[in-house]
C-alpha cells in the first residue's frame, strides 16, 4: 500500500465525510482519518439537522438516513424564572419529503454519512488521531507547503497532494497552519446537554406530536446570569435538554454548567416536559459562536479548512445551524481539491476557488447577513433584560384585573421598559440591528 494518496481528509464529521465523498467520486484516492473508534463517536450537538444540501450527494437521503423525528413543530421561548412567552409554529409540510429539519443522534448520522464516503471509495481509518502537518522540506517548518499529516500511529506519516482539515471546533490543524490569527474564549460558547429516556407515547403526548413528528424548542433566557440559551429536542424515545453558555460569562459567575441545566430543568415551563426522564448520557462540546468575526483564512498551500474548523457554524440565537454549513463547505472543499489537483496547482492560489464557492452560496451569504446576530443575541440586554420585560408586558396584557379597566398596551410597554431599566435609545438600536440581521 503506497504511503501517498491524492487527498487526506481529517475528521469524519459531516464536513469531512462530504469532502471525502466528493473527492472519491471524482476518482481521486482519498483517506479519511478519524480519531474516534467510529465516525460520530466524538460528536455532540443540540439536535436538529437541516440536510437539504445532501440532495445532490445522496438523492432521497431521507429514505435511508438514521433520523429520529422530523421537526414539524418549532417553538421559540422567552423564559424568565417564573414566566414563559412562546411562539409556537407547526406545519405538516415539514413532515413530508423533502422535509425541513430532523432530529438525529450524531453517532448514528455521522457514521452513516462516513459509510457513504467509504462506498464512494474513500478509505476510512478510525481510532487514528492526526497530530500534526507534514511540510514540504523545501520550505521552512512554518511556511512550507503542506504535503501530508502525522498521526499517532507507529510509522504514522501519510503524504498527500492535498489536505482537507475538517477537524472541528478546536481545529488543531488550522491553528498549526497559522490560519487563525488568535483564538479567544469570547468567540466560543459551551454546549452541555442531557439525553433523557422517556417512552415514545409519553413524548408524543407531552409534546403534542405523533409518529415521526418532532419538536424543537429554542429558549432565550433560562440560563441564570450566564449569557446563552437553552434547547429541548425530541428524539424517538429520548428528549435532549441542554444549554449553550458564553464561556467568558460562565467563568465569571461561579455557576457550573450542570447547575445551569438543573435550573432550566426545574423551570415550570420545562419540568413537566421531561419529568421522570432517566438520564442516558451527558455530553459537552464547544461552538464557534462568533461567526464572521472569528473566521480564519480557509486556505493554505496544500490545505483547505471546512466546517467548524473554519468557524462556519451559524449560531445566531434562534438559529443554531452547523451541520448544514459543514456539509456544504465540505462539499465545496472537496470540489476545489479535485479541480486543483487536476490542474496541478494546490497552492493557496490554486485553491482560491473555495472562497468563491462559499461567497456565492448560502455558506457565507447567511453568515454575512446574520453577522451582527450572535453578538446581539448574546448581549446583556437581550439576555437579562428583554425576556423579563416582554414577559411582563404579556402578563399584564392578558391579566384581567377587574375592577381596574384594561390599560393600553403602549402604556404597559413604556412602564415595563422603565421597570426593566432599558433605555429607549438602546431598545431602538437593538431592534434596528435585529431587523437588519433577521429581516
Amino acid at each position: 500500500m503506497s504511503d501517498s494518496v491524492d487527498v487526506i481528509v481529517v475528521g469524519a464529521g459531516p464536513a469531512g465525510s462530504c469532502a471525502a465523498i466528493v473527492a472519491a467520486r471524482a476518482g481521486l484516492s482519498v483517506v479519511l482519518l478519524e480519531r474516534g473508534p467510529f465516525a460520530g463517536s466524538k460528536n455532540m450537538y443540540g439536535g436538529v439537522i437541516y440536510a437539504r444540501m445532501l440532495d445532490e450527494l445522496i438523492p432521497k437521503w431521507w429514505e435511508q438516513a438514521p433520523i429520529q423525528r422530523w421537526v414539524t413543530r418549532r417553538s421559540t421561548m422567552l423564559l424568565t424564572d417564573t414566566q414563559a412567552l412562546t411562539v409556537d409554529f407547526r406545519t405538516d409540510a415539514w413532515g413530508e419529503a423533502p422535509y425541513n429539519g430532523a432530529t438525529a443522534y450524531r453517532p448514528d448520522f455521522d457514521n452513516w454519512l462516513a459509510g457513504h464516503a467509504e462506498a464512494a471509495g474513500a478509505q476510512l481509518l478510525t481510532s487514528t488521531t492526526v497530530t500534526g502537518l507534514l511540510r514540504d522540506s523545501a520550505g521552512s517548518n512554518r511556511t512550507g507547503a503542506i504535503v501530508g499529516v502525522r498521526t499517532d500511529r507507529p510509522a504514522g506519516d501519510l503524504r498527500a497532494r492535498g489536505v482537507i482539515a475538517c477537524d472541528g471546533v478546536n481545529s488543531l490543524l488550522a491553528k498549526e497552519a497559522g490560519l487563525y490569527e488568535h483564538t479567544d474564549a469570547k468567540h466560543f460558547t459551551l454546549g452541555v446537554k442531557e439525553t433523557l429516556a422517556l417512552p415514545k407515547e409519553v413524548i408524543d403526548e407531552r409534546f403534542g406530536v405523533r409518529d415521526r413528528e418532532g419538536v424543537d424548542i429554542e429558549i432565550i433566557g433560562g440560563t441564570g446570569m450566564i449569557n446563552g440559551g437553552g434547547f429541548v429536542y425530541t428524539n424517538l424515545d429520548t428528549v435532549a435538554v441542554g444549554v449553550v453558555l458564553k464561556l467568558s460569562k460562565l467563568a465569571a459567575q461561579s455557576l457550573r454548567p450542570e447547575q445551569v441545566i438543573a435550573g432550566l430543568k426545574a423551570n415550570h415551563a420545562i419540568a413537566p416536559l421531561i419529568e421522570g426522564g432517566e438520564v442516558k448520557e451527558y455530553s459537552a462540546h464547544l461552538i464557534p459562536e462568533a461567526g464572521l468575526e472569528m473566521m480564519p483564512k480557509m486556505t493554505a498551500n496544500g490545505m483547505l479548512v471546512a466546517g467548524d474548523a473554519a468557524a462556519l457554524c451559524l449560531a445566531a440565537g434562534i438559529w443554531l445551524e452547523g451541520v448544514n454549513f459543514a456539509i456544504a463547505s465540505g462539499m465545496y472543499a472537496g470540489e476545489t481539491a479535485v479541480d486543483a489537483i487536476r490542474a496541478g496547482d494546490v497552492s493557496a492560489r490554486g485553491l482560491a476557488g473555495y472562497q468563491k464557492r462559499m461567497r456565492t452560496t448560502f455558506v457565507l451569504k447567511d453568515h454575512r447577513k446574520l453577522r451582527r446576530a450572535p453578538a446581539l443575541v448574546l448581549s446583556d440586554r437581550v439576555q437579562h433584560l428583554y425576556p423579563a420585560m416582554v414577559a411582563n408586558v404579556a402578563e399584564r396584557m392578558f391579566r384581567v384585573d377587574n375592577p381596574q379597566p384594561k390599560p393600553g398596551l403602549r402604556r404597559i410597554f413604556a412602564q415595563e421598559r422603565k421597570r426593566a431599566g432599558v433605555r429607549r435609545r438602546d431598545l431602538i438600536r437593538d431592534a434596528w440591528t435585529g431587523f437588519r440581521s433577521y429581516g
Partner: protein, 101 residues
C-alpha cells in the same frame, strides 16, 4: 436531613457522568502544571470544565484527572496562564464515546 440543592445537583451529576462511556487510555492527554496554577487568581477552569475535572486543593494547587474528559477544549480557552495546561486529544480510539448525542 434532606441535602441542600447543591448536594443533589452534585449527586445527580455523578449519575449523569456515569451514564457516559469513556474508554480511558493509560496516558493522560491533558496535563496541568500545578506550579503555574499556584499564582492563578481567576481559576476559571474550576467552574467552566463541564466534567468538573479541576479540583482545587487546600494549599492553593489544582488536582486534575483526565479520565472523564469530554475533549471539549473549554479549559485551555478559559485559562489565561500560559503553560498551565498542555492540551491534546487522547490517543486514537480512546476517550469519550457518545451514543445518543
Amino acid at each position: 436531613m434532606a441535602g441542600t440543592r447543591s448536594d443533589w445537583v452534585g449527586d445527580y451529576f455523578m449519575e449523569t457522568m456515569a451514564a457516559t462511556e469513556f474508554r480511558v487510555h493509560p496516558d493522560a492527554h491533558i496535563v496541568v502544571d500545578g506550579t503555574v496554577c499556584a499564582d492563578c487568581t481567576t481559576r476559571q477552569c474550576i467552574v467552566a470544565c463541564p466534567a468538573n475535572l479541576f479540583v482545587p486543593t487546600t494549599d492553593g494547587g489544582i488536582v486534575f484527572n483526565y479520565e472523564q474528559c469530554f475533549e471539549c477544549g473549554t479549559c485551555y480557552l478559559v485559562c489565561n496562564h500560559e503553560g498551565a495546561i498542555t492540551w491534546n486529544y487522547p490517543a486514537g480510539g480512546h476517550g469519550v464515546v457518545f451514543r445518543r448525542t
